[in-house]
């Protein structure tokens, strides 16, 4: 169980998440929707312990234990993983070298093939990738890492329609794959376009605006609401 308890996050001197509460149970896949700058990405970055994202209030708890103050590698060791929205370019670090470093070289070829990235083994990580390639690569990275809590930051933005299905299927498969150390995985997806909803099994949607969680409900119903009314809470 991943739980955000009354969490506030600041970046620099700006508060970007305000007293947010959210529970994600094992086996659940949640979708966060919200306008640009609403704090969605900052929430995931803070959960992952990334530099520059400070939790100033509340707690983030994984399986009963706080992850606050942990470095990103410690968060990853505890079972969390993040597919970045804007991954940095790593010149000279090939996908193969990366996969080897995280102990996933045996899975690389097959998983890369599934995401239509079969020729990427010798390419440098995130160097010269198109927008769509970058997103698929981030999903591949998380699939290889196989954490118990998978967080995807806009995995389908910039991806052509054909590959949105590929990305969606990869996320669906990754989240539903059971292993001895992770019998039930869970996930969070940030989406703007909602296209990913056609390819994943999720019942949990949330609208976030101005750093606050405005409303939670059925993901697809919420997305239809957003399409017609914008990022506002539905009338009671």
């Amino acid at each position: 169980m991943l739980e955000f308890k009354n969490v506030s996050v600041t970046v620099g001197d700006r508060e970007v998440v305000r007293e947010l509460n959210l529970k994600i149970a094992p086996g659940e896949l949640h979708v966060l929707m919200g306008p640009n700058g609403s704090g969605k990405s900052s929430l995931l970055a803070a959960a992952m312990g990334l530099d520059g994202y400070h939790v100033t209030n509340g707690d983030i708890v994984l399986d009963g234990q706080s992850v606050l103050g942990l470095s990103p590698d410690k968060c990853a060791k505890r079972g969390m993983g993040l597919a970045f929205q804007h991954p940095p370019s790593l010149d000279g670090v090939t996908y193969t070298a990366f996969a080897k470093a995280i102990g996933a070289e045996n899975a690389l070829e097959e998983e890369a093939q599934r995401l239509d990235l079969a020729q990427f083994a010798d390419r440098d990580l995130n160097v010269g990738f198109s927008g769509g390639e970058s997103k698929r690569s981030e999903v591949l990275k998380l699939v290889l890492q196989a954490p118990r809590v998978m967080m995807f930051d806009e995995p389908e933005s910039g991806v052509d329609l054909e590959h949105v299905a590929v990305v969606g299927q990869a996320i669906k498969r990754a989240v539903s794959t059971e292993t001895s150390d992770a019998p039930l995985r869970s996930g969070i997806i940030i989406t703007h376009t909602g296209l990913i909803l056609d390819h994943v099994d999720t019942a949990h949607g949330h609208i976030i605006s101005d750093g606050r969680l405005l409303h939670s409900g059925d993901a697809r119903a919420l997305f239809r609401h957003v399409q017609s009314h914008g990022y506002r809470a539905p009338a009671a």
Binding site: M48, G49, L50, D51, S71, P72, D73, C75, A76, K77, G81, L82, F84, P87, P88, L90, D91, G92, V93, T94, A97, F98, A101, I102, D124, K141, Q145
Partner: protein, 376 residues
């Protein structure tokens, strides 16, 4: 006819296990994996042997007596006057100490040619002169290394290397240097590339060395093409100064040269000059530095001199620390900080040539980790 050196230790190179171990770290492999080998230890050429009919490998002194053209190659690209180091070397022109490598015209040499210089005597003084001739249309891979045993900290090594690539010759080379902490090293390297010659080279400078100054000059003829990368690590107590000069001296000459520097407490000064001396020449200079610790310094000065119209020259230089964004990205996949840093630095250095020994790659990683933890 195959000229055979008087130094031909056939089955056993008469190397101790310790010598083999330090040579492995700078690229040595046994004779079954190499077409020719020469090993100079202190002031003695211990091995000079070729198993390839078209590769001649022998001490330079012996080459002088065997081939009358060899004398014309000595100091064929540089004058000793005005330089104390070169004067010291030129004083022994009649009995020089160094490697002579000749790849005959048209030879296609499948296995690499290897040559090494070792200083085993503490406080030893070594002045060497190497001549390499890759003849017309020949194609060869070359590995060279210079090193000291762990117990040698102090000494002085001065070397002059002159390489001649005749028309259409091709070479791919890796050279690795690893000296002692209190040593003084001066190296001078001159290369002349004739029409259509092609060279791809990687030079790696590892370890702690009190004062290392390296000068190189490459002169490219018509349609000659040079691709070179240098990798320089400077640990605490190390000063490395590299002065590179590349002259595109005839139509169609091309050069891409990149120096990647990692300062882990030491100082690196890199002056690189690219000279466009003829029309329709193109060249690129890159000087990229990475500082791993607060102490130490990197000075990168790439310069362009266009003397001819339509010489297309460009350069770039960058110096920075390991980005926290990149570290965080890799750490979010479960890599601890040291491993993430090592991966980034290894990527930056592009240690991906098949001929860069695994031991060298591991040593670089080890140095990075030690530098980070203050162990250096």
């Amino acid at each position: 006819m195959t000229e055979t050196s008087t130094l031909n230790a056939q089955d056993d190179f008469q190397l101790s296990n310790e010598e083999r171990a330090i040579l492995h770290d700078v690229g040595y492999d046994d004779e079954t994996q190499r077409s020719a080998t020469s090993i100079l230890i202190d002031r003695q050429m211990r091995v000079a042997q070729s198993s390839h009919d078209d590769v001649v490998m022998m001490p330079l002194a012996e080459a002088l007596r065997t081939f009358d053209f060899a004398q014309d190659l000595m100091f064929g690209q540089v004058l000793a006057e005005g330089n104390e180091d070169l004067l010291e070397i030129s004083a022994h022109m009649d009995d020089p100490l160094g490697h002579f490598t000749w790849v005959r015209p048209g030879a296609k040499v499948a296995l690499p040619v290897q040559s090494f210089t070792v200083l085993e005597m503490p406080q030893g003084r070594q002045f060497t002169h190497d001549i390499t001739l890759i003849d017309e249309g020949a194609d060869v891979e070359m590995i060279s290394g210079a090193t000291v045993p762990e117990f040698v900290h102090a000494g002085r090594h001065v070397c002059l290397s002159e390489t001649y690539m005749r028309a259409g010759a091709q070479s791919r080379s890796v050279s690795i240097e690893h000296w002692g902490g209190n040593m003084e090293v001066r190296s001078y390297s001159y290369s002349q590339m004739e029409k259509g010659a092609h060279s791809s080279s990687t030079a790696i400078s590892l370890g702690t060395v009190r004062d290392h100054q390296a000068f190189s000059h490459i002169n490219l003829g018509e349609d000659a093409h040079s691709v070179s990368q240098s990798i320089v690590l400077a640990l605490e107590g190390t000063t490395k100064r590299i002065d590179d000069e590349i002259t595109l001296s005839a139509r169609g000459a091309r050069s891409e040269s990149v120096t990647r520097m990692v300062a882990a407490g030491g100082t690196i000064i890199n002056n690189a000059v690219l000279i466009g001396d003829a029309a329709e020449t193109t060249g690129f200079l890159g000087c990229d530095g990475l500082k791993l610790t607060e102490s130490g310094e990197i000075i990168a000065v790439p310069a362009l001199r266009a003397r001819a119209e339509a010489a297309q020259l460009s350069h770039e230089a960058s110096v920075g620390m390991v980005s926290s964004e990149k570290l965080g990205y890799l750490m979010a996949s479960g890599l601890d900080e040291d491993t993430a840093r090592g991966l980034i630095v290894q990527g930056f250095l592009s240690l991906n040539s098949a001929y860069i020994p695994k031991t060298v790659q591991d040593r670089v990683t080890e140095m990075i980790l030690q530098a980070k933890s203050g162990g250096m």
